[in-house]
Every structure is written in structure tokens, then in C-alpha cells.
């Protein structure tokens, strides 16, 4: 280590020598014709972002889980549980239609990018018809507030409400982790197919953070 430091310190001296007319080596721009690939002969060392890869460094910014959802226009005020997947590889939801679930593998509150996905049963065997049955009636421009575990609250405005057949439901889009930060609320809608025990549509509401 000590020797490496010394080498670094001597670098400017060596470069100075070269500039003074030493026959060969020159640290900076090569005066000879540059290969076609390097377009800017005067370019110094390119800016390359580096970071300390030591395991002690946090791997990624902690995700803030949402814990409360409020939509005054629809008289909705629900608890949010962090949820993963069910046995069929679909998003798991709280048993009660009165509670909402947040897809814990995706973006959280105040995320930099992508969709924070919160869903709830439109109706449930446990507690009947839930608040999300009113999701389809949300007006564009309505306000939605989401509180996080860290005590923060993010306000959103509704920009789109649509009904999509489940067969065509764009899951990759709903669970997108890139693009502008947004809130996506999902429930079921349309007709209920009693032969399968499932609704045929998904109601998908999109909202964007206020001020963005």
C-alpha cells in the first residue's frame, strides 16, 4: 500500500518529464493518429462512476412500505398490508376486502421510479363487499393519500381509471418498476364468472404524485 501511494505521487513528475521531450511515453492524449473508435483526441480520462463495493455498504436504498390509503372522494380509508405471491404465482391479497395489500417486491412510497401497486378484493368471503368496489367511480383529479411506515405521506392525483379483461391485463405494465413514479390501485370488476369463481375484469386506477 505504501509503495502504491508513492507510485501515485510520482506520476505527475513522470508526466512532466514526458512533456519536456522524453522520446516516448506520454500519459495524456496520444499525439499519434487516434484509432477510429476514439472520436475526441483531446478527451482526458472519461468520467466513470465508481462506488465502494464492500459488503458493509447498503446494497440499495431501503423501500418504505405504505401502511394507509385514503381516497376522500370515495370515502375510502384502508389499512395496507405488505403482500407477496399466492400459491398460483398471482399477487396475494389480505383475506378481508376491508384491507388493501401492497406488492412488497415492487416500489414503495416516495419511490424514484415505477409503479407502487396496491390492490384489494372487491368482495370477499370474509367480509363481503369492500371499499375498492367504489374504485371504478373515482373521478380524474381526485386526491389519494398514501402514508408510509416512516410517517411520511405522499399525495397523488388520479389520472386514469380503466377496466381491462383479465386475459389481457398487462401485468408487466401494472408492475412496472421503471418510468415515472406512480401509484397503481387494482381490484376486480365486470361480470363474475361463477364457474371459475373469478371476475372477468381488473379495474386499474393510475395516479401520479402531486406536483409531478
Amino acid at each position: 500500500m505504501r509503495s502504491a501511494l508513492i507510485l501515485v505521487l510520482t506520476l505527475p513528475l513522470l508526466a512532466g518529464c514526458a512533456a519536456a521531450g522524453a522520446p516516448v511515453a506520454s500519459a495524456a492524449p496520444d499525439p499519434s493518429p487516434s484509432p477510429s473508435a476514439s472520436a475526441s483526441p483531446s478527451a482526458a480520462v472519461p468520467e466513470i462512476v465508481t462506488k465502494d463495493a464492500s459488503i458493509g455498504n447498503a446494497q440499495s436504498a431501503a423501500t418504505v412500505a405504505p401502511v394507509r390509503l385514503s381516497i376522500p372522494q370515495l370515502n375510502i380509508d384502508m389499512r395496507i398490508d405488505a403482500m407477496g405471491l399466492d400459491g398460483d404465482g398471482a399477487m396475494a391479497l389480505p383475506d378481508n376486502a376491508l384491507d388493501a395489500g401492497w406488492y412488497k417486491f415492487g416500489p414503495g412510497v416516495a419511490n424514484d421510479a415505477g409503479a407502487t401497486v396496491i390492490a384489494a378484493h372487491v368482495d370477499s368471503r370474509h367480509d363481503g363487499i369492500g371499499p375498492f368496489s367504489r374504485l371504478k367511480d373515482a373521478s380524474l383529479g381526485s386526491t389519494i393519500s398514501v402514508a408510509g411506515t416512516d410517517g411520511s405521506t405522499v399525495d397523488y392525483v388520479v389520472t386514469e381509471v380503466r377496466s381491462v379483461g383479465k386475459i389481457d391485463a398487462p401485468m408487466a405494465e401494472v408492475f412496472d418498476r421503471a418510468g415515472d413514479p406512480r401509484l397503481t390501485l387494482v381490484t376486480c370488476g365486470g361480470d363474475f364468472d361463477s364457474s371459475t369463481g373469478h371476475y372477468v375484469d381488473n379495474i386499474i386506477l393510475t395516479a401520479i404524485p402531486v406536483g409531478k
Binding site: A4, D30, I55, V122, S124, G189
Partner: protein, 277 residues
Amino acid sequence: MKSRLAAGGAAGAVLVVALAAPMSAAAAEGDAQLSVLHGIPGVTVDVWVNGDLTLDDFTPSTLTEPLMLAPATYSVAITASNATSATDQVVLGPIDLPLAADGNYTAVAHLNAAGEPAAAFFTNDVSATAAGEGRLTVRHVAAAPAVDILAGDAPVIEGLENPNEEILNLPAGVVPASVVAAGTTEPALLGPADVDVAEGVNTIVYAYGSLEDDTLALAIQTVDGLHTPPAGIPAGQTGAAAAAETAQSTWIGLGAFGLLLAAAGALFATRRTAARR
């Protein structure tokens, strides 16, 4: 280690690694991604790509962000940090790195099993992970014999040798990982350390340094965006919401008389709901 490094410095030889060169200002379709990790303790190096100084004074345990490079074969040389060209005080190389379109690679300057500087060139697995899962890649780039990797007390990777890798797809979560000599469970050469195997991310753990010199350490690289979305969102169970909807529109169609019925029906529905609770 100190003696080896000192000797290397005196001879004018220092370190490692590979990198990127004709870097376009903006990423283009089909660009390969190349990251560079410095895994040789105690020395600072320069990295030259196609003859151009690309990483100046690159220090141990440092990882570059991915460099976006047009697919091609790049010539990489690693020199002492005071070298004046890619051919001055060469430590490693030049070596050729063939980068394929859309490929994702990591070049690592490290010590081989015998403790000599070496360059390893890995292709990172960026295939999609299953919903709910993450990928754990472990790379042995340390001057040490074969190792096992334990998750808690159980070996999950056995007999991993420098400069090889092993890849596991796991349910997302934190893995308490330890590195032990192959065939043993203790003492831990490294760790235990909590490794966050995040969903949709390839978390790549490097064991680097030297056992003999007591400089073993872990470095981490992550490649994200590999996630698969859930298969669907089944968010209804009984059909009650649809039934209520249908009933409501029917009543509206019946006009004023229907409104009376609707009021009665709503009362009834409310009682039923209450009863169900």
C-alpha cells in the same frame, strides 16, 4: 502481503482489471454492459482500454457503474498507477474481452489461487427471475483454496474454486452467508454477513483478497431489472359486488317505483352483509 506488494511496486508492476474504451456519450441499441471490479488488496492501478487510459488510480474494492459499450472485442491492459501508457509497467494483459450485443459482463482484477494478480472475465446471468425470487451468484476470486458457502449453518454451495462461480435462484430475502474451507462448517473465513438477495435482482458476491495475508473480504455487485410480474391479481371472491351493481342498474331502470324497491333492497343487503359479518 506487504512484502509481495512492495516487491510488485518496486518492480514497477501493479495491478489489474479490464475496462471500457471508446465510450459513446449515449447508450445505443445492443450496447454491451461492462462493469469492472478491483479485487486486489493494497494496490492502486490504472486501466487502459484499446490503449486509452480509462480508469485512473483505481483502488481496491471499487466497482464501476456499468459502461455501455458497442459490441466488439476490447483490449485491456492493467498497469501501475504511474504508468504512462498501456504498455508501461504492465501488471496484466493486454487481454481481449469479447463483448457481445446486449451482453452483461464484469471484469475482475484479483488474485489467483496462488496469490498472483490475475484478471477474470464473467458473464452475468441477466435472464428473468421468477416472481418472488432473486438470484445469488458467488464468485471465488481470492487467493484461497476451495470453499463452501453456508446459508446459516447449511452449505448451499460446495467446493467452489478460484476463479469459478456458482449461481442460485432463491426466494427473495436476506441470506446470512459464511465462507468456509471446503468440507468444513467452521471457522468462517468470511462472514457471517447478511446478503440481501432482492427480488428480481442478481446479487453477485465476490470473495477476494488473500487467506495467507489475512485480507479476505466480500464485495457485492447487483444487476437489477430481472423481475417477472405476478401472474395476475384475483381480487374478488363472491361476485357480491357484481350482483349489487346489476341490481342497482335494474332498479334505476324501473324509475321512481324502482327507487322505493332499491331502498328496500339496500336495507336488505345491508342486513345480509351485517349478518355475514
